[in-house]
């Protein structure tokens, strides 16, 4: 104690016991989330412009390509719109990697790392703030989807579960984006690098066309990769079909992505060397 008494400032942050540690962690994360939410609120144009890209994809698939794609059972609009929901969330998530790269470059991350706050707080707070952005863009896409003829056919609980699945996948994926942003440390590079996983998962999937039309070597990946199983699960939940198997697969993928990329992002953040 004599040691601590000579450092009155340390006692402020040391608190006592695990209870205090958890309390400080929550406060730290809350502070970072607040910072990023304020940034989102003060740049509303980002949310609007962020919605344009998925809106264009929606129009493109619904009206330009949709006529040429035949779905065995059901309408194409109900087939593609759930995929657009996920696309919108993944496109929005790219701001996580760009934003983190920008924070690294501007030196603000240096300040964060020199403070007694928990090291995971900078990343957790950011991804939580970006989750709220996902909610916004999902809301926008639901509105646009119903404008182009998308209809829900399931119970309210099932629909809510579908939306929760979209958001949880988006949240897990924001840790992929966080890792990319921290590893590239440059906003422009982060932007280009962030598009890669999105493109691969989006096009080699069941998002736009049924997997059955693809060559056999591609089918295995396209059917079982995380985005595809999530899209299948969301479709089933919104259409009211049997969903349990796909939902569990999607949850498992999201959990695995979260655990792996949380560890990677935290490792890169901790060992950031300039």
């Amino acid at each position: 104690m004599a040691h601590l008494e000579s450092h009155p400032h340390a006692s402020l942050s040391s608190g006592s016991g695990p209870h205090a540690a958890v309390r400080y962690l929550i406060r730290d994360v809350g502070g970072v989330a607040k910072r990023n939410l304020l940034r989102i609120v003060r740049t509303p144009q980002m949310v609007v412009i962020g919605a344009i890209q998925p809106a264009l994809l929606l129009v493109l698939f619904r009206y330009v390509l949709g006529g040429a794609i035949r779905i065995p059972d059901g309408s194409y609009v109900n087939y593609v719109v759930p995929a657009i929901f996920l696309e919108a969330v993944l496109i929005g998530g790219m701001t996580t990697s760009i934003g983190l790269a920008q924070d690294l470059k501007s030196g603000i991350i240096d300040r964060f790392r020199s403070l007694p706050m928990a090291r995971s707080a900078v990343l957790a707070g950011r991804t939580i703030a970006d989750l709220s952005r996902s909610v916004l863009s999902l809301g926008i896409m639901i509105g646009l989807g119903s404008l182009v003829g998308f209809r829900f056919h399931a119970s309210a609980w099932s629909i809510l579960a579908g939306m929760a699945l979209v958001l949880s996948f988006g949240y897990a994926f924001s840790w992929v984006y966080a890792s990319i942003g921290l590893a590239t440390r440059d906003p422009e590079t982060a932007q280009i690098a962030g598009i890669l996983p999105f493109f691969i998962l989006m096009f080699a999937s069941n998002a736009i066309v049924p997997v059955a039309t693809m060559p056999s070597w591609l089918r295995g990946f396209a059917r079982n990769q995380p985005l595809s199983v999530t899209i299948s699960a969301v479709r089933a939940l919104l259409e009211g079909g049997p969903a349990a198997h796909a939902v569990w697969q999607s949850i498992a993928w999201a959990a695995a992505m979260f655990v792996v990329f949380f560890a990677i992002a935290l490792h890169v953040y901790r060992n950031n060397v300039q």
């Binding site: 400032h9 340390a10 942050s13 406060r27 304020l38 740049t43 020199s114």
Partner: protein, 330 residues
């Protein structure tokens, strides 16, 4: 007993093939300003990043505010403040929001960090601008806010990495005053700078870094003495008088004079102060030797810096050269 707040023993750090720090030692006492002086790439920023736990050293024993930089990093971070070369404040937040968040992250209670944020805004002349977004601030205001943010936790040790680089003279002067006030309150400051006047004004102790090694340390006057003492210097009006001036000065100096033909200067080491200056002036008048300038020149910290960090020491430039061989005509 004097309490060391920063103790560094044998820091080494390499990045792939380049050696950034090659064994640096120094200590800073409580309530003192230690300036790390060195050219770009000398390792100043690397050192600051290591001491603020942003970077792991290859080898080192160092304590800051009594905490080991590796095993007690978390506690150490509660006892330091860092303001960098680039103002690390959020443009989309107001000045007050920036400060309050930093206070929250120092784990202060809400009422406390609100009060301190107000204090800092007041002290740094940002009270009127406090509720405006930082993107509307001038460069000097951002820098003040950045330094202010590092004070929210009232840390006993403050790291300022080139805090005044790129600031106008007035803002610079204001910042210097703030730093002096903090030091008067007992804060220990480690300051990196490329500006000699800054080091001279603020630092109790200067550590000169070059290529990752300490090449000299001491007070400003100790460093100047290392480079050489005061010199009596005359500039003759007519170049043909150089030889006579050389002869006269050799009677007054502590050593052989040195002539600079190009600038028509002759100088000699002196310890005689003003008396010597007056005597030399009289003598030159008696000899009817016209002078453009006469004075005592003390080495500036700039001379020290250049001498210590750029190859051959400046004393070689003062080596006496027989005037007969260097004067084009007499």
């Amino acid at each position: 007993m004097i309490e060391p707040m920063i103790e560094v023993k044998g820091i080494t750090k390499s990045f792939r093939t380049t050696r950034a720090l090659a064994g640096v030692d120094f200590t800073a006492e409580k309530g003192a300003v230690l300036a790390l002086l060195g050219p770009n790439g000398s390792g100043k920023t690397t050192l600051v990043r290591i001491l603020t736990t942003l970077l792991r050293p290859d080898m080192c024993r160092a304590r800051v505010a009594g905490y080991d930089i590796e095993s007690e990093a978390r506690a150490l971070r509660s006892s330091i403040g860092l303001a960098g070369q680039y103002a690390a404040v959020d443009e989309l937040l107001t000045g007050r929001e920036n400060l309050e968040l930093v206070g929250l992250w120092y784990h202060l209670e809400r009422s406390e960090y609100r009060r301190r944020a107000g204090d800092v805004l007041d002290r740094f002349g940002l009270l009127d601008a406090g509720d405006r977004l930082v993107k509307t601030y001038s460069g000097g205001m951002r820098r003040r806010l950045d330094v202010g943010a590092s004070l929210i936790g009232r840390p006993p040790v403050l790291f300022l990495d080139e805090p005044t680089t790129g600031l106008d003279p007035r803002t610079r002067n204001d910042l210097w005053q703030f730093i002096e006030e903090m030091v008067a309150d007992g804060t220990t400051v480690l300051l990196t700078t490329q500006y000699m006047d800054e080091a001279e004004r603020l630092a109790h102790r200067i550590v000169v870094l070059s290529e990752g090694s300490v090449v000299a340390q001491g007070t400003a006057s100790e460093l100047k003495e290392q480079t050489g003492g005061a010199r009596l210097e005359v500039r003759v009006t007519r170049r043909e008088d150089l030889n006579r001036a050389f002869g006269l000065l050799s009677e007054f100096g502590d050593g052989p004079p040195h002539a600079d033909v190009e600038r028509q200067l002759v100088s000699v080491a002196t310890s005689g102060g003003t008396a010597a200056l007056i005597a030399v002036g009289r003598r030159f008048e008696d000899e009817r030797l016209a002078l453009d300038d006469l004075g005592i020149r003390r080495p500036s910290l700039d001379d020290v810096f250049l001498a210590l960090t750029a190859g051959p020491p400046a004393s070689t430039a003062h080596e006496h050269a027989p005037v007969t061989t260097t004067t084009p005509r007499d």
